[in-house]
Amino acid sequence: MAGEQDMFDAVVMADERFHGEGYREGYEEGSSLGMIEGRQHGTLHGAKVGSEIGCYRGFALAWRGLLHGCATERDSKKMKVLEALIGMIQKFPYDDPTYDRLHEDLDRIRGKFKQFCSLLNVQPDFKISTEGSGLSF
């Protein structure tokens, strides 16, 4: 009698059991696929941020060279803003994606860059597409 009950038990509970197994297998597979996707996303996004700041850095250093030695008051104001921008870029923690003020600092760098361009009367019209020409952020 007990044997028969186990047999029915197995049949009756089969649905639920397969559900559970299927769920666990799916969850594990999903988690590892998610990790891979997340890593790819992080790499891409990190590269974007890096390339954006790299662009600002190159722009800033080039202009520092161009404005070097200029004596007018206007130019010294520009130099002040430029040095502030370069300072922010240098302080930015490139190796710590968990830095809690990452987005805030990034926004401050973008704002300072825009302000500097405004003082130079230069339109920052860079466009980068996936084809690799120009820059757009």
């Binding site: 502030a84 926004d107 401050r108 704002g111 300072k112 825009k114 302000q115 361009c117 405004s118 003082l119």
Partner: protein
């Protein structure tokens, strides 16, 4: 209450177009209006009627969304969807565009002059607020680009006496900014509204700020300095702002504009339900928990959304309003005794 807000006159200011905003000059003698027809018009009183003294139509390629007079009354700034802000200099009845401020990536939504006259703020759909400094030679220079908001910034306004700037955004918040060591920083974020904050107004003393929103409420915020008697927590030496009053249930649609009369303290609102309402603070109400009562309500003030309300800075009770129907209206507010 029915007779508290009386229509004086109505003008079709921007035919076939929306009238977006109005601004009285500091002397209260001229009213600037701007609209979807890309023009700015200046209106002056002649006897009992208002006549168009100037039309500034060559400045912008798209809708002009806001206009603002400098504190000295000699300059007018116009903010446009064409991403630029024009500065016009007044010369008798003529206005000449002396500078065009560029830099925003898309539609400029608002412009405001600081009470000192040396600073100007603009904000845009590009989510940023720009602060500009103007020197004696009428040269404008950007002193800060603030990226604190996460969405379209709808309005900027300066504190009446301090160099404190406030902005309202589609991200449901109000942010405050001040200068700190050569740079401008966001010193407070006011959260509470459940939808886009469309406009802001400081009270005459500057201690309170009123905001109006798509969530159909008006909120009044009060500034608390560090060490205040009420025990409101402040972080370090920063003042904090607390919502001390919420006016809900009065407006049936989005509230697009709010104006706080600097002479009388009356609060007027412009609503998407075509109505204009006026509120007054109840006498003797607790300053930490003020209450306001509705003292005037004109339900069909315009035939479409009311976009702006503006109190005349010199004449008590004179209110101007404008609407999507292109019209500009003048009202006389006379609260009945015993409110």
């Amino acid at each position: 209450m029915k007779d508290s807000l009386v229509l004086l006159s109505r003008i079709l200011a921007h035919p076939d177009s929306r009238c977006w905003f109005l601004a009285w000059n500091p002397a209260g003698t001229l009213l600037a209006s701007c609209g979807g027809d890309r023009s700015v018009r200046i209106w002056g009183r002649e006897g009992d009627s208002w006549n168009c003294k100037s039309v500034l139509c060559e400045g912008h390629q798209r809708t002009v969304r806001k206009v603002a007079w400098s504190p000295c009354g000699n300059y007018l700034a116009s903010a446009s969807f064409d991403a630029t802000t024009c500065i016009w200099k007044k010369n008798e009845d003529d206005f000449e565009c002396v500078t065009t401020l560029e830099g925003h990536e898309n539609e400029v939504k608002s412009v405001a002059w600081a009470p000192s006259g040396n600073l100007l703020a603009t904000c845009s759909r590009d989510k940023s607020v720009w602060v500009w400094e103007v020197d004696e030679e009428d040269e404008y220079e950007c002193v800060s680009v603030l990226n604190s908001h996460t969405q379209d910034v709808k309005h900027v306004v300066w504190h009446p006496s301090q160099e404190l700037l406030a902005s309202a955004s589609y991200d449901d918040t109000v942010k405050l900014y001040r200068e700190e060591e050569d740079d401008w920083v966001c010193c407070a974020t006011l959260e509470g509204h459940e939808s886009t904050v469309w406009s802001l107004a400081f009270d005459p003393s500057g201690q309170r700020l009123a905001s109006c929103s798509d969530d159909r409420t008006v909120r009044v915020w009060r500034q608390y300095l560090p060490g205040n008697e009420q025990g409101v927590a402040c972080s370090g030496s920063e003042a904090s702002w607390k919502c001390v009053c919420t006016l809900s249930g009065f407006h049936s649609r989005t509230i697009y504009d709010i104006a706080w009369c600097q002479l009388t303290g009356a609060l007027a609102t412009a609503c998407g339900d075509d109505a204009i309402r006026v509120f007054e603070e109840d006498p003797g109400s607790d300053p930490q928990q003020p209450t306001f009562s509705l003292t005037a309500h004109v339900s069909q003030a315009h035939s479409q959304d009311v976009n702006c309300v503006a109190w005349n800075p010199k004449e008590r009770g004179l209110l101007a309003s404008c609407s999507d129907d292109g019209e500009l209206a003048f009202w006389k507010y006379q609260p009945s005794e015993g409110i």
